[in-house]
Symmetry: C2
Subunit: 397 residues, 2 copies
């Protein structure tokens, strides 16, 4: 069976390996350490750096597809690998737009897809004036972003006034390219998860609602509750069209804002399995990890239907203060209390707000999403903090 190489040994590679096993494969992982989440569990580990072209070449040797656990591989290395015949998926020409938020915004606008107003602040000599002009235009309801490298709330500054905005600009080091975007008055955040194969087949899972805390995904409700069918379909079509236009291969998440007026605005893109798709591991016929493998191998894509009722995914985050009770004991108690909870742990050390696992709960057909969410959040909070809560605390959001 074919060998797929994934660059990066994090939880996405770990869970892709799980899916690879069923397909008769073993995922080859380029990991930085034997202790990486994926390196702990796969039999085919290449130790090295995603920044080192020779390490990338070594990991790519003989693979049928070369793909990614994160967006951090230098584009010039990928272009070099492609020139040497390595099947890089998604290809560098597509991945560029997941690495560079400014290029992504510009391309989306060219394609007529809805994006917030934005301004390029890369030219530092003109940046201060450009920021002031843009800020005043939007009443200083703006977001500053690093063009490259941000994730999970890092490299993103939500701002309300001129002084704070200028302070971020002045404080940024010279290597950090910045851009500014208008804040979108929104009802909630959605994610349209799709996959596309080199052949051009596309498939879309139901659109989900994502709930962020401290700038990173905390909870996913699948499908998004009370989302109008035409809005859901529009979100899927936007994601599929963008994937086609950019030549994306593999799973792609299009994070969206649903505005107060019920319109959609594109927020971020990820061209890999994504936190907003972890619910598919238990709640959909085909998980995003299996689908990513199918897509990068140019296999026909799997069915994306929900298997039963509403599914809720809640991230397990490292607590501000690690509980004295071990994770093994916490798992034990959770299993006793919620025997239906599907636990996914990543083998990572506990640090505050670090994603160390997630819990999925699949509701029965017709179940209330709030009731399923209550259980999923209770389970995840327990694993994080060794504290039982009743329901979820809206104030944390």
């Amino acid at each position: 069976m074919p060998v797929v190489t994934m660059v990066g040994g994090g939880q996405l590679a770990r869970m892709t390996h799980q899916a690879a096993i069923a397909l008769g494969q073993c995922l080859r992982v380029l990991a930085s350490s034997d202790d990486d989440p994926a390196a702990q569990v796969s039999a085919d580990i290449v130790l090295g750096s995603h920044d080192d072209l020779d390490d990338l070449r070594h990991a790519a040797a003989g693979c049928a597809a070369f793909t990614f656990d994160h967006e951090g591989v230098p584009l010039e290395h990928l272009i070099a690998l492609e020139a040497e015949g390595v099947p890089v998926r998604p290809p560098s020409k597509a991945l560029h737009f997941a690495q560079d938020k400014l290029a992504m915004r510009q391309r989306l606008r060219e394609l007529g897809l809805p994006v917030p107003d934005f301004v390029d602040l890369a030219d530092r000599s003109a940046a201060r004036d450009a920021l002031i002009s843009f800020g005043e235009q939007h009443g200083w309801q703006i977001v500053l972003k690093a063009v490259r490298g941000g994730y999970d709330g890092r490299g993103v500054w939500l701002l309300d006034d001129r002084d704070a905005a200028l302070a971020v600009l002045d404080g940024a080091d010279d290597a950090t390219r910045l851009m500014a975007e208008a804040k979108v008055p929104m009802r909630r955040e959605l994610s349209a998860l799709i996959a596309r194969s080199p052949f051009g087949q596309g498939s879309a899972w139901p659109v989900v609602e994502t709930i962020q805390r401290h700038g990173q995904c905390a909870v996913v409700l699948a499908p998004a509750p009370e989302l109008a069918a035409d809005v859901a379909e529009k979100a899927q079509q936007m994601a599929l069209r963008l994937a086609e236009e950019l030549g994306v291969v593999g799973v792609m998440a299009m994070e969206l804002f649903e505005t107060d007026a019920g319109e959609l605005v594109v927020n971020e893109l990820a061209m890999r399995p994504h936190n907003s798709g972890h619910w598919t591991m238990n709640g959909a016929v085909t998980s995003q990890f299996e689908q990513h493998l199918r897509a990068v191998l140019d296999y026909p894509l799997g069915q994306t239907d929900v298997v039963a009722g509403p599914v809720v995914m809640a991230n397990v985050l490292g607590a501000a203060q690690s509980p004295s009770m071990t994770m093994d004991e916490r798992v034990h108690h959770l299993m006793a209390r919620l025997p239906e909870a599907k636990i996914h742990l990543y083998g990572k050390g506990e640090r505050p707000d670090r994603k160390i696992g997630h819990v999925n709960i699949v509701g029965a057909p017709g179940a209330s999403v709030d009731e399923v969410r209550e259980r999923a959040e209770r389970a995840a909070t327990w694993l994080s903090t060794a504290t039982w809560t009743d329901g979820w605390d809206e104030h944390r959001e």
Copy 2:
């Protein structure tokens, strides 16, 4: 997180490793070769023999539970390991009954559980007379079995007449202990799959129907269609009671005959994840592989409900003549035709009738089991033979 050691590197260990990943673990496998199904995919492989006490000790070092992919480990080695403090699960006192069919039959009879009439033929000097007497008593509708080591139809001889029976007896080598059983006139075969933890918690999946071909499991219908609720409950209770009486830990399959009169008779026992439970990987809230890990680690057990409609598992067997089309190409075509099929491949070479994978199809709630079965069998036959069939051929059964 705890380390579980599994002896044997076959597909059961491979699939247990998949389940271990979600629980934050990596399964340690004692494998005979790097090429074993589980050794291909786990990062923690000990190479050695299940017959060698030092190899077993090496694999057991520091593990929280020591369990099995097959029943072939010599009992005296397990007793030695237990004396050294290794948490052998199931314990030797229970595993004995899965290794020795005669002891199992005798124990079941003592417990008042329904078994076919049987006779011990271990004493070769008396065996011929005993067999003739037993055969005449049952009109030569008997089965000869090796007391140890048989599986998947090996070590089992279905017989109809005296000459054939005596030929098996005369042809057996001196090391093979034999027994004979009366054939049970039956409607179908069932399997009651349960799990039990050291604490004594038990859980049961819905009872399934198993369809055998050439003496080995070919198809599983879950739940067993049109099985009376009281019969299903009786089967579950028998399995749970036996597990309790024997001190079984982990997953146990009790294979049963449903007689023409609607009575249950116990056929075989397996104290490990079992082919009749592969459907749980996609069709039940908790898979048998996760449950086995939970049980041997004395975690609370997971929910065993069916997630949606009827589930059908069909084994992929090596074909009499290997197709010229590669398995990778076959997978490609299957995915195109049945995007809902859940494929599980074991990384094994193709040999006639060898179990090299299985396919699960989960029906929608209320779906017809025949319709789901048709798709599952079509998928499995395709992967075996590169031939599409319409429905299944009753004559193969």
